[in-house]
Symmetry: C2
Subunit: 225 residues, 2 copies
DNA sequence: TCTTATTGTTAGTATTACTAACATTTCTGA
DNA sequence: TCAGAAATGTTAGTAATACTAACAATAAGA
């Protein structure tokens, strides 16, 4: 099971790049090293020039693959959520009980990928990147255009699968999509908070509190109590 | 009641500015017009140069008040949350029932200030700015230093008041702080989503869905069902 | 081998994010 | 009223960022 996923080449919307990074060695190097460097420096301080010097290439070469660093971030983001979707599909494939499937989904959202090995990019690294940088990537004035060109499709798809599980459990619950996007987004923020703003949460960075918190929150919220 | 708040001069942590903007006319102009301009352009495209030309001054003059645009954003942010705290205190002053107080608090978080008039800055404008820009302002590598210098004190204080209400209602609930920060943050994100990523939520920008969603979520989550 | 794809290289521009130094105006208090 | 401080204006700069253009070199494939 793990080994099938390991070799999967994740599909990413082609609006996100100028040239497919997995079509050449340089391209692979760009996305791989970018993942690390963005994390290390934070988006604010990350530049194509620094990345170029890290991989022994030039700015101009990188611009052949991505329009700018913002698009590169969105690409890595989309890759992550596509990977998460594969995770969800695999991990719930043989589960009949929707409540069990929901449990898996929540764990995925809160703790990141269950399958942590992939030949092309490192899901663990990506998870950290998504926690620290992804929200910045879509809270921009450009979001409306990007939305139209389908760039957020990947995040949508993931969310919709989980909404469907919730509707299976309680078809009368009014806000499945809102609930799912809340958990998706705020599990990232709570992860960030536990590391950087500990006064705002009871959760510890690597403790189980977040998972318990969100499980309880979702289960109670969709119940007809 | 309203008129007392209207004249209040909100207190903001002095680490956020180099010179108090309310100590001079230029300073007031800076923060007032910045609120609008940041909104209009988004943080990405906002510069001190553009602000300077809007208020008929120069970059150098603005740099006397704020270290950089990031600090200016944090200043406006802090002002907003201080204002929210005043709102909370005033609006709950004569309510004995903690569940009623919690209801007020949730409405505040979801819909922004109840009192929308202030002589110094415009709370409505600030609310829009916070929805669109505030998360970007703290999801940065610099957050740890800023945290130490007490810059997030204002957000903490607001959150702690609400946590206290929750503990009053259910002293055994394990995650009051996590729940409150989740609602604070994701009500902003849901507001953003309803405007820009409508596929991720059932909420409409100016509808009552968000309020119903979060009320139900909080009440059920802290109940001992 | 001819062509195409890929990468390297160099050089440039406009904008951004600042800083320094000094001149001018305005206000204040002795 | 006059000296000095506070506030603002002005000019001029630098280093870094975010690109773009144009062309040369190399490798791979049909």
């Amino acid at each position: 099971m793990e080994s099938i996923l390991k070799k999967i080449r994740v599909n990413v919307n082609s609006n996100l790049y100028l040239k497919d990074p997995f079509s050449s060695e340089l391209g692979v190097l760009i996305v791989r090293e970018a993942t690390q460097l963005i994390q290390e420096l934070g988006m604010e301080n990350f530049t194509f020039k620094k990345l170029a010097s890290k991989i022994g290439s030039t700015e101009a070469a990188i611009y052949r693959y991505f329009e700018n660093k913002h698009m590169l971030l969105l690409y890595l983001n989309a890759w992550y959520w596509a990977w998460m979707e594969h995770n969800l599909v695999f991990a719930t494939a043989n589960l009949i009980d929707p409540e069990e499937r929901l449990g898996v989904a929540i764990r995925l959202m809160v703790d990141g990928p269950l399958y942590r090995e992939n030949d092309f990019l490192d899901p663990k690294q990506l998870h950290l990147l998504v926690v620290n940088e992804s929200l910045k990537g879509y809270l921009t004035k450009a979001v409306d255009n990007e939305h139209e060109s389908g760039i957020f499709a990947q995040v949508y798809k993931f969310g919709e699968r989980i909404s469907a599980i919730i509707q299976e459990i309680n078809p009368t619950y009014q806000f499945p999509k809102t609930l799912v996007s809340t958990v998706m987004e705020s599990s990232l923020l709570q992860n960030f908070n536990s590391r950087h703003l500990p006064g705002m949460t009871e959760a510890k960075p690597d403790g189980g509190e977040r998972l318990n918190f969100f499980k309880e929150l979702v289960v109670k919220t969709i119940s007809n109590a």
